[in-house]
């Protein structure tokens, strides 16, 4: 093992004198008398290793011994990851003692005692490759596959495999032999370095299926796909986190991994407290059963913040390899970029724009590329849908993190300050936002099937009405209410109907917070029907009053259970007032 000694300390950057071989990104332990501190090599030169320490370096002295572990930062993969609350380095936060975090307190990610009911999926004598499913155990609601270690190369033969029964994660489940005769015992646990993509899939087809979120401004206007990527930039106070939480609660995924990266602790606490209580409407199970949280809140060590997003991504890749639909959320990727900036700054690298490291765009794009829809060697499909938030400095979208992310992510949900100021939530700007997937023929075809034949045309129509409304409003602002024809007022108010009824959604209302696709289709069809109606007005003042009344009734519909008596009652009232205004031929 390589050993070294500390020779310099600048905040969490430590310089280690070392003579023996060192690996870039290798993990080392600094033996501070109080507790050993974990660190990662980020630069090597001149018999010195520059390491970033994942903890506070307070009290550390030069001359302290350092051991290099020979491996890079790894996560531990196996049953028992779901429902866990990890820190950025996959330490189980619940297993730690005391109210305050103690530095150097590293806890086991998996429970070594717990027994899992194993069912073999392969037999003795079968040939397997890395990532193949040897058997499965039931982890909460999912069939957790026990896989051939991802690090193995070539073809292996099963010499022995355990039968059905209860085992702990460290029991040997199978013995496999390589063509060269090398023997390996396989347990339920394996390790994988977080910064390396886990690629044991056959290929990555283009995403084609919508991932339902129950949020109208996303599903209807700019849908994201299974295996898609998206990002949510927005100034503070625009509802980024509320939106992300809504997605994490409602999205139609098998597994949800939330990386709280450099954000507020109280927001993570909200998930900790609510997810064990809230039900997943699709399965009836508690949300926590399908969720894993990686919490590196803003007051936790900066270096672990960078690790946290990689840890989360690697866990997602592991579950994807079981043929599952995984949703990965990271809030916020800007904090991760800032962690990179702090390190780059301490190493006195030449800075790029806004003092961020020069390779920031490459780092971001490599990370987003790890998401995707994949076909596994056994023909099953899995996906990672990744949505990251971005916190642009000063709300200015022309800053490096937003720009780099825009190049990498396919869906763009722009949160607008104006909409947030007028409490039009979710503040997703309907015109600036886009989903590149809407251009995918594959998705349009599948939408025809799962929603309705002319769905995409209806969405286009709605978008046109919003655009038209915006143009007309500008004219009204210039020319005055009575300076434009009455039809202009009607056009403007039609766009307000789309805004109030389709785009706006009350994330805190039991019913309105989640709208299934079927209901979204019903409402959009109804609203578009109204748009095509010709109304009779004599004065422009009548327009606003009439539309306000309609909007009020439709809002009541949104607040009522779908197709309930109450819902029908409001619909009837709506028909009545519409009929009074309709031009009869």
């Amino acid at each position: 093992m390589t050993r070294g000694t500390v020779s310099g300390i600048i905040a969490n950057l430590v310089i280690v004198d070392v003579r023996d071989p060192v690996i870039q990104n290798e993990i080392c332990m600094i033996h501070h008398p109080e507790s050993s501190l974990m660190a990662e090599v980020i630069k090597v030169g001149d018999n010195k290793a520059y390491v970033q320490v994942f903890e506070s370096t307070r009290g550390l002295k030069t001359g302290t011994a350092v051991d290099f572990t020979g491996s890079m930062l790894e996560v531990t993969l196996g049953p028992g990851i779901l429902s866990r609350n990890y820190d950025g380095l996959q330490n189980d936060l619940d297993a730690m003692d005391g109210v305050f975090l103690r530095r150097g307190d590293y806890t086991r990610p998996l429970d070594p005692e717990k027994k899992w009911d194993f069912v073999p999926l392969k037999q003795k004598g079968e040939k397997v490759i890395a990532g193949d499913w040897l058997g499965e155990v039931k982890e909460n609601l999912i069939a957790h596959k026990i896989m051939v270690p991802f690090t193995l190369e070539g073809s292996w033969e099963i010499e022995q495999i355990s039968g059905e029964g209860s085992y702990t994660v460290n029991d040997t489940m199978a013995t496999i032999v390589s063509e060269a005769g090398e023997k390996r015992e396989v347990t339920m646990v394996q390790k994988w370095p977080v910064k390396r993509p886990l690629k044991s899939f056959r290929h990555k087809p283009r995403p084609s299926k919508i991932l339902e979120t129950g949020i109208r401004a996303i599903d209807t206007m700019n849908p994201i796909t299974e295996g898609g990527t998206g990002f949510i930039p927005g100034p503070f106070g625009c509802g980024k986190t509320v939106l992300q939480h809504a997605i994490s609660r409602q999205a139609e995924a098998d597994i949800v991994i939330v990386a709280a990266c450099g954000e507020r602790a109280n927001e993570v606490v909200e998930i900790f407290k609510e997810f064990p209580e809230l039900e997943d409407v699709r399965t009836g199970a508690k949300l926590i059963e399908r969720t894993t949280i990686i919490a590196n809140t803003s007051n936790m060590p900066v270096a672990a913040r960078e690790a946290s997003v990689y840890t989360a991504m690697t866990l997602a890749e592991y579950y994807r390899n079981m043929g599952l639909k995984v949703l990965l959320l990271a809030d916020s990727t800007s904090r991760w970029a800032q962690a990179l900036r702090e390190m780059s700054n301490r190493m006195e690298e030449l800075p790029g724009p806004d003092a961020f490291p020069m390779d920031l765009p490459a780092i971001i794009s490599n990370f987003y590329a790890r998401a995707g829809y994949v076909e596994l060697p056994n023909g099953a499909h899995g996906s990672i849908t990744f949505i990251g938030t971005v916190s642009p400095a000063g709300g200015n979208l022309k800053e490096p993190v937003t720009e780099s992310t825009k190049k990498a992510a396919r869906c763009f949900y722009a949160l607008s300050q104006d909409r947030a100021d007028s409490k039009r939530y979710p503040a997703i700007d309907p015109l600036d936002s886009y989903s590149k997937y809407m251009e995918y023929e594959e998705l349009r075809e599948s939408l025809k099937e799962v929603v309705s034949e002319n769905w995409t045309d209806m969405v286009e129509q709605a978008r046109d009405i919003v655009l038209k409304g915006k143009e007309v409003m500008e004219q009204i602002n210039i020319l005055g209410d009575d300076g434009v024809p009455i039809e202009h007022h009607v056009l403007f108010w039609k766009s307000e109907v789309i805004d109030f009824i389709i785009l706006q959604q009350d994330a805190f209302d039991e019913i309105d917070r989640m709208t299934p696709l079927k209901r979204q289709e019903y409402m959009l069809r109804m609203v578009l029907g109204i748009m095509e109606t010709e109304f009779r007005f004599t004065r422009f003042e009548e327009v606003a009053a009439f539309f306000r009344e309609m909007i009020n009734l439709m809002k009541q519909m949104n607040y009522s259970a779908f197709e309930s008596d109450q819902f029908r009652e409001y619909e009837k009232q709506l028909d009545t007032i519409i009929n009074q205004r309709t031009v009869t031929a």
């Binding site: 020779s7 310099g8 300390i9 310089i15 506070s56 370096t57 307070r58 009290g59 002295k61 030069t62 609350n85 936060l93 619940d94 730690m96 005391g98 109210v99 305050f100 975090l101 530095r103 503070f236 106070g237 986190t241 450099g262 602790a265 109280n266 993570v268 606490v269 909200e270 900790f272 407290k273 919490a295 809140t297 803003s298 007051n299 900066v302 916020s332 904090r335 800032q338 702090e342 700054n345 800075p351 806004d354 003092a355 916190s391 400095a393 000063g394 200015n396 100021d421 007028s422 409490k423 005055g480 209410d481 300076g483 805190f508 003042e541 009053a545 306000r548 009344e549 009020n552 009541q556």
Partner: protein
């Protein structure tokens, strides 16, 4: 400061800048305190045997042969029963002519709370100010700043809040406070007879700016002691965090770090987060609530300091002077309390969320109407009603000088809505309008 026995004394400083000095020494711990020519300093960089010290009060007059002594411990605060009611400087030494502090020394800037051990903030803090209680309700364990221009009366409002809020301890962290404001706080607390639950750490404009960097850590170490060990509800007031950040930029500049946006250090976000994230609700009842002040220059919230703050804190309160009613308001548009969802309509009356949202939406309509009016267009009858509504709304609810209970605010809200609008115009859930809409007179 007295010399401490058995410590090695160094007398050869190799390099001196405005805020730091560098010397050769061995067996020195990172972030350890030292005394340089009688002044307190802290280790900020170790490279080989070269130690760089940040001298808090500046290096003017330090000689290259000044005596340097390492204390072997990080900055700490003495906590004991005689801490209550005291005014201290940034180092935790008394400035109020009282006796020296006794008790145990606790480390400042210590570790953070394990997020899974936190409790969700859930207790409403009532202030009587409708701009806060009605529209931006505060909750124990929350952290929120006032965004205000330097000429606004934020110190008065902070003092008012501190006295009205039901807290066991109030800890004031004053950074770059003018001497007059320091005396204002002292007198206000004294006159209210609340001095025994106050502890203040004060760095005034007369003190060196770098000393300010200790104030938040000192204040919060004391807060953590009372909230965690004594299970008390602690309210921490930090004013002015902009001056704190300015001090950070001075230090980073002296250490040749590459500045990022607005000449602020690249680590500004983490530095501020470390302070604000100390706000916490402990499971056994203790809590730390932080109310801070971030002064803006010309109302610019895109500057790095308010911008980073906004991303860290759970909302912000904007102060604005309104010329129409001639009062200082809590601006309903830009202000936000992220924690309010945890209490409104739950610990307060069920109609709270809808009254809040509807009033603000109609107030926004009034703002649009005003723009129309200013551009010389005719107003509709609806526009005129919104304008009348907004004037009363500002006077009776948004102004910081109101003092009402939450129920009174809600009743006032219904009254204003019903006086100016019809039920269909307000668009509130029907069950609620049926119950609360005031009867026709």
């Amino acid at each position: 400061m007295n010399k401490i026995a058995f410590k090695k004394i160094y007398t050869k400083i190799n390099q001196i800048t405005k805020a730091t000095c560098t010397l050769k020494a061995d067996n020195v711990g990172y972030e350890e305190l030292a005394i340089v020519g009688g002044r307190l300093a802290q280790v900020v960089k170790i490279v080989g045997d070269e130690i760089t010290l940040q001298v808090f009060s500046g290096t003017e007059g330090i000689s290259t042969n000044a005596e340097v002594m390492f204390l072997g411990r990080p900055p700490s605060l003495r906590i004991g029963p005689d801490l209550e009611g005291r005014f201290l400087n940034a180092y935790g030494d008394p400035i109020d002519d009282g006796p020296e502090l006794s008790g145990e020394e606790i480390e400042i800037g210590g570790p953070s709370v394990n997020p899974v051990r936190r409790e969700q903030p859930s207790q409403l803090i009532s202030t009587g100010i409708a701009g806060i209680d009605l529209n931006n309700t505060l909750v124990t364990g929350q952290k929120i700043p006032f965004f205000a221009d330097p000429d606004q009366p934020f110190n008065q409002i902070m003092a008012l809040l501190a006295l009205r809020a039901d807290a066991d301890k109030i800890i004031l962290g004053g950074m770059g406070l003018s001497n007059d404001d320091y005396l204002f706080y002292k007198n206000t607390f004294q006159n209210a007879g609340s001095l025994d639950r106050i502890i203040a750490f004060v760095n005034t404009t007369e003190d060196p700016p770098v000393e300010r960097l200790m104030v938040p850590d000192m204040s919060l170490a004391a807060a953590e002691h009372y909230a965690s060990t004594h299970k008390e509800k602690v309210l921490v007031l930090l004013t002015d965090m902009t001056l704190y950040a300015d001090a950070l930029s001075i230090v980073s500049n002296r250490m040749d770090q590459i500045p990022s946006k607005d000449s602020m250090p690249g680590s500004l976000y983490s530095d501020l987060a470390k302070i604000y994230e100390k706000a916490v609700q402990f499971p056994d009842g203790g809590s730390i609530t932080i109310i801070a002040v971030t002064t803006l220059s010309g109302g610019d919230i895109t500057h790095a300091i308010p911008d980073n703050t906004g991303y860290i804190t759970e909302g912000q309160l904007f102060l604005r002077r309104d010329t129409e009613v001639g009062k200082v308001l809590i601006d309903p548009f830009r202000s936000l309390s992220r924690m309010k969802q945890l209490v409104i309509g739950d610990q307060t009356r069920e109609d709270h969320p809808q009254i809040m949202n509807t009033s603000i939406r109609l107030y926004a309509d009034a703002v649009n109407a005003r723009t129309k009016q200013e551009n010389g267009f005719d107003l509709t009858e609806y526009d005129e009603r919104t304008l009348r509504f907004s004037k009363e709304y500002k006077e009776k609810l948004l102004a910081v000088d109101v003092n009402l209970t939450v129920d009174e605010m809600l009743d006032e809200g219904w009254k204003l809505l019903s006086e100016h609008f019809s039920k269909s115009e307000v668009g509130i859930r029907e069950e609620l309008t049926e119950k609360y809409w005031p009867a026709e007179k």
